[in-house]
């Protein structure tokens, strides 16, 4: 509806520079070996297809230097003026150079999840459209509360932390601590880092089961991979009825919830993330979105996330995108408050 209007009045210089067919869409995640990031790239592909383009899929194996190298190379071999980057930075530290490179080259950029607290898109970055993240404190608390409920408000839990050097891991744990403070009946028996990794979580959980035995009635994990590892360890130990929660809503975890083995997870909707960043850049390049007009809240925001538990697991079994979300007028429909 509003598309033609903004094209007419927007900063036309940039919009005119690119014919829609020249636009280069790039999605970059760590790797294609985990369901969440794979679904993210697939979402990007679906959006690209819907506008008659293809997405360049980049993966950097979780290696920060490689992520930088890849992006710089993409910027220097492509035409940055007509480029959209939808990037999952490896860690907070990687966002700064990505933003600076993209800004210097003039490519539109949307980042997700990780960003240093003092770096903001409105600090003079014209092409860094938006930073999309999720309230980790919130998700950590939501799953904790779902778990406490399943435990009947009391018992002992163990917590599996993610890679300690990420804000996601830290925020989520703060959420758990908040929930614990409000639920004095639940005690935190132990916390260990399991690096967002399934095998590590499996082994750590086994050791913790030895240490605490039947005192464990809940396992809080900072992501689903660890939750699934813990679940397996609990099964191996013959412990049933332990509430296990995670974050990410990977298909396997959603299935486990539907099967009644897991209690809850939180969905950030990977396919949407994969498409939305490209859509923002596409709209900006085609003149349907003026970055300068965006509010601060739109340029760095927490996106809505949904708690998935037994009630809605079946409906979320397969990740899918809703192309309506990517129309230029709906880009900011999922804003759920500014980042801190």
């Amino acid at each position: 509806g509003c598309a033609t209007e903004s094209a007419a009045e927007g900063d036309g210089g940039q919009a005119a520079a690119c014919a829609p067919e020249d636009i280069q869409l790039i999605g970059q995640v760590r790797n294609e070996t985990n369901p969440y990031e794979k679904a993210w790239l697939d979402g990007g592909d679906e959006f690209a297809e819907s506008v008659g383009l293809t997405q360049t899929r980049l993966t950097y194996d979780g290696e920060s230097p490689k992520q930088q190298e890849q992006l710089r190379q993409a910027l220097s071999t492509g035409n940055p003026e007509c480029m959209v980057l939808n990037v999952l930075p490896n860690g907070d530290s990687d966002t700064t150079p990505i933003v600076k490179e993209a800004d210097a080259a003039g490519a539109y950029l949307v980042t997700h999840w990780n960003k240093p607290a003092d770096l903001d898109p409105w600090d003079g970055y014209d092409t860094w459209i938006s930073h999309i993240t999720f309230n980790g404190v919130d998700s950590g608390r939501q799953i904790a509360e779902a778990m406490f409920e399943a435990m009947g408000g009391e018992g002992g839990i163990i917590a599996l932390q993610g890679i300690l050097d990420t804000s996601a891991a830290k925020d989520r744990f703060i959420g758990l601590e908040d929930a614990l403070a409000e639920n004095p009946g639940v005690t935190l028996l132990d916390e260990q880092a399991a690096d967002f990794d399934r095998t590590t979580a499996f082994n750590v959980t086994k050791t913790l089961i030895t240490k605490h035995g039947d005192a464990i009635t809940g396992v809080w994990a900072a992501n689903d991979d660890m939750a699934l590892g813990a679940l397996q360890a609990l099964e191996a130990a013959g412990m049933s009825g332990v509430a296990v929660v995670g974050i990410d809503a990977v298909p396997e975890a959603v299935q486990a919830i539907a099967d009644g083995k897991m209690t809850a997870t939180v969905s950030s909707d990977g396919p949407w993330q994969g498409g939305i960043g490209l859509a923002m850049g596409y709209c900006a390049l085609t003149g349907e979105l003026a970055v300068s007009d965006l509010s601060d809240e739109e340029r760095a925001f927490f996106a809505k996330q949904t708690l998935i538990d037994a009630s809605n697991a079946e409906a979320n079994l397969t990740p899918s995108v809703n192309l309506e979300d990517f129309e230029c007028g709906n880009l900011f429909n999922r804003v759920d408050g500014p980042v801190s």
Binding site: R57, S64, P65, K66, Q70, S76, T77, G91, S93, T96
Partner: protein, 333 residues
Amino acid sequence: MSVTDKTGTFARLGEPPRLTQTTRRQLLLTVMPVIVLAALVAAIAIANPNFLRPLSIWTVLDSAVPLMILASGAMLVILCGGIDLSVAALASMASVLVALWIPVLGPWVVPVVVLVGALAGLLQGAIHVVAQIPSFLVTLGGLAVWSGIALVASGASTIGVSGSTLDWTFTRVGPWRIPSAVLIAAAIVVVFALVLTFTPVRRWLISIGSSEPAALMAGVPVAQTKIAAFVVSGACAGFAGVMLVGRTYSGAPSLADSLLLPVVAAIVVGGTAITGGFGGIGRTVIGVLIITVLRVGLSVAGVDSSYEQIFYGVLVIAAVALTIDRSKLPFVK
């Protein structure tokens, strides 16, 4: 001397040097790494001609810099028959220290952190030499310890760097907009090349690498040379940490960790023997470029990201198969 007078029959020597088959093969082997590099670049350029743009080429070279600095140091240790697995972790630790200390030390942070790296190398080298523990093990322990220190010092988080103290490590200079990092790396390579060519250091490294007992009996300063190799390797890791902070604007406890295997791969692809005793800085430069081109070039050439690892594996093996000089490896382990 009378000894020589009676030895007429031995004198069947002085055939003039000819370009025999062996010397021609030798020549081919010397230039092979360059040919492999050129072929790779050409293949990528066919898939995506933009790869040969000057800007793109400078970017490749720029991307190679941290790897280059780490590999130069690690190569010394490999030349004398050991291995330094700690370089990447040490560079990560250095990045954290740089980020922490910049507010206090300002530009002095660079020599201080390089010194810290050198001291870490010294510690590892000394344990390796004095306690006679295999370098693989010492540096594996070092790897864990430096990571731990970095985690604790940073509180397991990323420390941002503001200000312009390190801008010189990551900018472009001159009319051709050459990345400053490339110039710095080139300077380091030149220093290495000069030292290795014009001083006895290379002799010592090679003799230790190919026959340590013989080197000992010939009075080569074996312990000193080995420790020095570790010190230089540590210092290079420290400096690589500085360069990484310069380009990421932050220090983080696992910033460079993933560079370990690429570093060793680069050294070996260049043709340096992993068992020691043969190799050099020139080969390492080419090896670093081959690995860097593989790392960044596959996606530029449009290889599907799910197949990228397969391509990378096949190409690395093919590259090594072509570049190493088997006559210089007594036997292949």
